[in-house]
C-alpha cells in the first residue's frame, strides 16, 4: 500500500477550514487545504474569535486586529436625530436617557445580565457539545463538570438561562425596555439570519449567540481581519482554484479527495470539510444510512438575508447604521417572508469602511428566481426608500448599489451560517442529531464548518473543536 503524502486534507480555506488545518499542522500532521476560489477573500470577518485560537495560532503577532467602531451602532429616531450607543456604558446611558429615562436606568443591569449569559455560551462554544447519550465515564464527567459550572453561577443566572434561551427577543426586551428605537436595535440581532420574527421563540438565544465575545453593553459582534491573517499564515500547503470532494472506494471506505476538473485523486486517511453539511455530503448520499441522509435533508437553511455593497467615495455620517425602528417593524418585515415574499420595508443595516458600505437586508427569503432583474430592482428601491429619510445621499447612489439575494450567494439556500441557529439546531443537535462531534458516518470524514457546533457568526471555534477531536481520534501515520 502506498503511503499518502498527506495525513489530512481540508476542503475549503475559509476561517474554520484554515483554523482546523493549522491546528492539525501544529500537531505535526501533514495537511493540504484545497480551496475552490483562486484568490483569498480580502473582506473582514464578523464574529467572535475565541481567545484560545488567537493565542494558539499566535495570530496577534501575525497582524490580527479587531476593528472597534465607537459608537457601535446608530439608529435614526422618529422625531429626527439618532440614538448612538457607545462602547462606554455611561455614555450609552446618557444617550438612552434622552429618549427614555426608565430605559437608561435599566441599561447597566440588562447589559450585566446578558453578558453573564453570553459568558456561559462562550464556555460551551470552545469545546465539543456535550454528548448527552454518551455512556463514556469521561464524557459523563465532563457533562457533570459543565453542570457544576452552571450551578456555581448562582440561582439568578440559572433561572435566566432556562427562561431567556427559549424566549422570543420581543418578550425579553419588553420585560426590560419601553423605547421602540432601542428595542429595534437589539431586536434586529435576535432575528439575524433567521427566518423568524422577533416574536418567535428562540430569538433571545440568537441574540445571546451574537453577543458572545463582545464587551459588556455592545450588541454587535466583533469585526476582525482573521481571514486574511490566516491566509498568509505559513505552515500549511494550500491548493487554490480547485474544487474538491471527498471520495471513497468501492468498499465504501474513504480514500481522500477528488479534485476537479481533472478528477485526480489525492489520498489521505482524513478529510475535513468546512463546507456546509448538505454540500459536503450530497455526493455521498448513496453510501450513507438513509436515516442520516434524511436528517441532513431536514437541516433548515432558509437564507433570508441579501447582502449588498455600495462603493462610496467620501465621508459618511455613520459607521454602523441600523434601520429597524421598532420590534413591530421587524415583525412586519418578517410577515412577508413567511409567505415567500421579500419585505416591502426591510430591516437594513449599513456598515461603512474603506470606501464602501456593506449592506445587510432582511427579509429576502431564498427563492430560485433570485437573479430575476425585477426582484433586484424592487429590492434596491425598497432599501433606498427605508434608508433615504436618514441618509439622503443614498438616493443618488441607487444605481451603484449591488445586491446579492440568497440564491446568488453561493451558499446552500443562501444561508451564511450553514444552517439556521434555532434551538433545535444547536449544541448536540448541530449539524444533525447524534452527529454533533464533527464526525460523519463515513470513517475519516469530518466536518468543521459553521454548520457544526457552535455555528456561524463565530470565527474559528468549530475549526478548532473539530481539529482537537480529529487529533484525539486519529493516529499519525
Amino acid at each position: 500500500m502506498t503511503q499518502s503524502r498527506y495525513d489530512a486534507i481540508v476542503i475549503g480555506a475559509g476561517v474554520n477550514g484554515l483554523v482546523a488545518a493549522h491546528y492539525l499542522a501544529r500537531a505535526g500532521r501533514r495537511v493540504l487545504v484545497v480551496e475552490r476560489e483562486a484568490n483569498p477573500n480580502p473582506s473582514f470577518d464578523i464574529g467572535w474569535v475565541p481567545p484560545q485560537v488567537v493565542r494558539d495560532l499566535d495570530l496577534e503577532r501575525h497582524g490580527m486586529r479587531f476593528t472597534e467602531s465607537d459608537p457601535w451602532i446608530a439608529a435614526p429616531l422618529e422625531g429626527g436625530g439618532r440614538l448612538e450607543l457607545s462602547r462606554d456604558l455611561d455614555r450609552s446611558v446618557e444617550a438612552i436617557r434622552r429618549i427614555s429615562p426608565a430605559d437608561a436606568a435599566q441599561w447597566p443591569d440588562f447589559c450585566t445580565r446578558m453578558r453573564r449569559l453570553a459568558a456561559v455560551l462562550e464556555r460551551l462554544y470552545v469545546v465539543p457539545p456535550p454528548d448527552i447519550e454518551s455512556r463514556d465515564p469521561r464524557e459523563l464527567a465532563r457533562i457533570a463538570g459543565l453542570g457544576l459550572y452552571v450551578r456555581r453561577l448562582g440561582k439568578q443566572t440559572i433561572i435566566d438561562l432556562a427562561r431567556v434561551l427559549p424566549m422570543s427577543i420581543a418578550e425579553l426586551l419588553d420585560d426590560w425596555f419601553e423605547s421602540d428605537a432601542l428595542k429595534g436595535i437589539l431586536g434586529a440581532v435576535g432575528v439575524w439570519h433567521l427566518k423568524q420574527g422577533p416574536r418567535s421563540g428562540g430569538t433571545a438565544f440568537n441574540f445571546l449567540h451574537h453577543h458572545v465575545g463582545s464587551p459588556i453593553g455592545v450588541f454587535r459582534p466583533p469585526v476582525s481581519n482573521i481571514g486574511s491573517v490566516l491566509s498568509d499564515l505559513p505552515g500549511i500547503e494550500v491548493l487554490r482554484g480547485q474544487e474538491a470532494v471527498a471520495t471513497h472506494g468501492p468498499d465504501g471506505r474513504l480514500i481522500g479527495v477528488m479534485v476537479g476538473p481533472s478528477g485526480d485523486t489525492i489520498e489521505a486517511p482524513v478529510v475535513v470539510s468546512s463546507e456546509d453539511p448538505r454540500s459536503a455530503l450530497e455526493h455521498l448520499k448513496p453510501i450513507l444510512d438513509p436515516e442520516f441522509v434524511r436528517a441532513v435533508d431536514n437541516i433548515k437553511y432558509r437564507g433570508v438575508v441579501a447582502r449588498g455593497t455600495l462603493v462610496w467615495q467620501g465621508p459618511t455620517s455613520f459607521t454602523n447604521l441600523c434601520v429597524a425602528p421598532s420590534l413591530e417593524y421587524l415583525e412586519r418585515a418578517y410577515d412577508a417572508a413567511k409567505y415567500g415574499r421579500d419585505s416591502e420595508r426591510p430591516y437594513v443595516e449599513l456598515r461603512a469602511e474603506d470606501g464602501r458600505i456593506d449592506v445587510h437586508v432582511q427579509y429576502v427569503p431564498f427563492r430560485h428566481d433570485d437573479s430575476n432583474p425585477d426582484r433586484q430592482r424592487t429590492l434596491r428601491a425598497a432599501v433606498v426608500a427605508v434608508v433615504a429619510p436618514h441618509v439622503p445621499e443614498i438616493k443618488t447612489a441607487e444605481s451603484r448599489l449591488v445586491l446579492q439575494c440568497p440564491d446568488q450567494l453561493d451558499l446552500t439556500e443562501g444561508h451564511l451560517y450553514h444552517g439556521e441557529l434555532t434551538l433545535d439546531q444547536i449544541l448536540f443537535m448541530r449539524p444533525v442529531p447524534g452527529w454533533s462531534r464533527y464526525r460523519t458516518p463515513l470513517d475519516g470524514l469530518y466536518l468543521c464548518g459553521a454548520g457544526t457546533h457552535p455555528g456561524g457568526g463565530i470565527a474559528g471555534a468549530a475549526g478548532r473543536n473539530a481539529a482537537r477531536v480529529i487529533l484525539k481520534e486519529t493516529k499519525r501515520s
Partner: protein
Amino acid sequence: MGYDAIVIGGGHNGLVTAAYLARAGKKVLVLERRPRVGGAAVTEEIFPGFKFSMFSYVVSLLRPEIIRDLDLPRHGLHILPLESTVTPMENGDYLAAWADHDETRRELYRHSPRDAEAYDEYGRLMHFMAQAVKPILGMVPPDPTSFAPGDLVSLLKLGKHFRGLGGERLHALVKLMTMSSADFLDEWFETDVLKATKSASGIIGTFLGPRSPGTAYVLLHHYMGELDGVFRAWGFAKGGTGAVSEAIASAARVFGAEIRCDASVARVNVKDGRVTGVVLENGDDLAADIVVSSLDPRRTFLQLLEPNELPPEFVADIKRFKFRGSSGKVNLALDALPSLTCMPGVGRQHRGAFSISPSLDYVEQAYDDAKYGEFSRRPYMDIVFPSMIDPGMAPPGKHVMSIFVQYAPYHLNGGWTDAKREAFGDAVVNAVECFAPGFKSHILHRQVLTPLDIERITGLSEGNIFAGELALHQLFFLRPAPGWAKFATPVRGFYQSGSGTHPGGGIMGASGRLAAFRILKDGR
C-alpha cells in the same frame, strides 16, 4: 366552625384538590364564585332546551389515575368518543380522519402515498413521546437551582429517564420542545392540508402561529390525552363538560367535602407570613390553616393577597407571567345541521369534528391578524355537534354547534365592545358559510364569547384557557414562577393548584392532584 382546608375556586382542579384532601380525612370547604361548580368546564342551558359546554368542550387529558382514584364513572362520568375529523379544503376537496385506521390511511393515500406511509410511523413516535413525557406530568418539578437532596435526586432521576429514551427519541423530544409545529410536521409530511390540520393542535390556547417555535410542544401536550388507556382519543362527556366537574364534585362530597357556590372570596388572610383563612365578598370571615387557590397565578397572588405579603421579586415574576388570551367561542343553536360543500348532506362526519384549517397559510394568516391586535378575519375553527352524540343536549330535531375560534386577541385594538363582539361572531359564521353555504339560515340562537367574556365569566385572566400560556419558559419548574413551582407559595399554609401550575392546561386535573399530595405531605 373551622375547616382544615379551604379551596378557592370550584373548577376541575380545585375540585380534584378538594376531593383528594377530603379522601385523606381533611375537613374541606370549596368556595365557588359562580352559582355552579366547574369554572371553564361547565354545561349551561344558554337557550331554552339547548345545552352547551360553554367553554371547554372536549375531554381527553383528564388523568386516568384521577378517574380511578375518585371512581368518577360511579359519579356519572361517561365519555362518548369523538370519531372523526373532516377538514374542508378551499378547492372543494376535503381531508378526513376516521375512527377506522385503514380508512384513514386510504384517505391519506388519496392525497399523498408518501404521507400515508409516514402517518403510522409519525403516530408511533408521538405516542411514544407522549408516553415518555407522561411521568413528568405526574411529578413535582424539581428546582434546578436548589442543592436540597430531594431536588438533586429528582434531577438525576429525570436525567436518567431522558437518557433511557435513547438517542433518536431524545432528539425527537428536543425537537418537539423547541420547534414550530409547521417545521416539525414538515419533516414528516408533504400534504399541506394535513400539516395545517395537525398543526392546529399546536396553536390552541397560544398566541402563536403554526410557524412559531414552541408550538410543537403544545402539539405534544394535546397528544397526551388518554381515554380508557387509548392515547390521543378525544371525546365528549355525556351531559357536556359540566358533567365532568359535577362528577368530581360529587366524589368530593362523598368524601366529606363541603362545596359552597355563590361564595366569592375577597381576600386571603395572612398573619406573620402564615395563612389564617379567607374573607368573602359578603364579609364572612372563614378560618383555616390551609388555603388553596385554584385560580390562575395572577388572581391568586395579585388579587387575593396584598403585595407586601409576598417577596418583591416573586411579585415581579408573577406580573411577568404571560396570559395573552387568543381564543373565542361561538355557541349556536340550530334547526338543522350544516351541509359541507365537500361532503354534502348529514352523516357520520357530523359525529366528529370539522376543522377549518384548509392550509398552513390560512392558519398563519389568521395569526397575522391577531398579532397586530385584530381578530382573524378568516379564523381557524374547531367545530363539533355535541347533540349528534348526546341527544340530550338539544330539543328533538334540533342541534347545538360548538365553534372554538382562534384568533381573538384579548387586547383588541380599541378594546372589545358589543359591536366588536358581534362583528367577530359574524366573521366566524361567515367563515363557516364559505364551506357550508346556507348554514347561516339555520341559526336559531347565537352566543359569542370573546376572551374578555371568558375572563369576566370564568375569571381566567385575559381569557387564557390554560390559565397562563404553555410556553417553554412558563413550564415545569418555571410554572408559574422559578422557585415556586411546587404548589407551595411564599405564604406558609397557602397553596396553588390551578392550571397555572405544573403541568397545566386542559381538563387534566394533574395540577389539582399534585397540589393535594404536596399539602398532605407537608401536613405530616
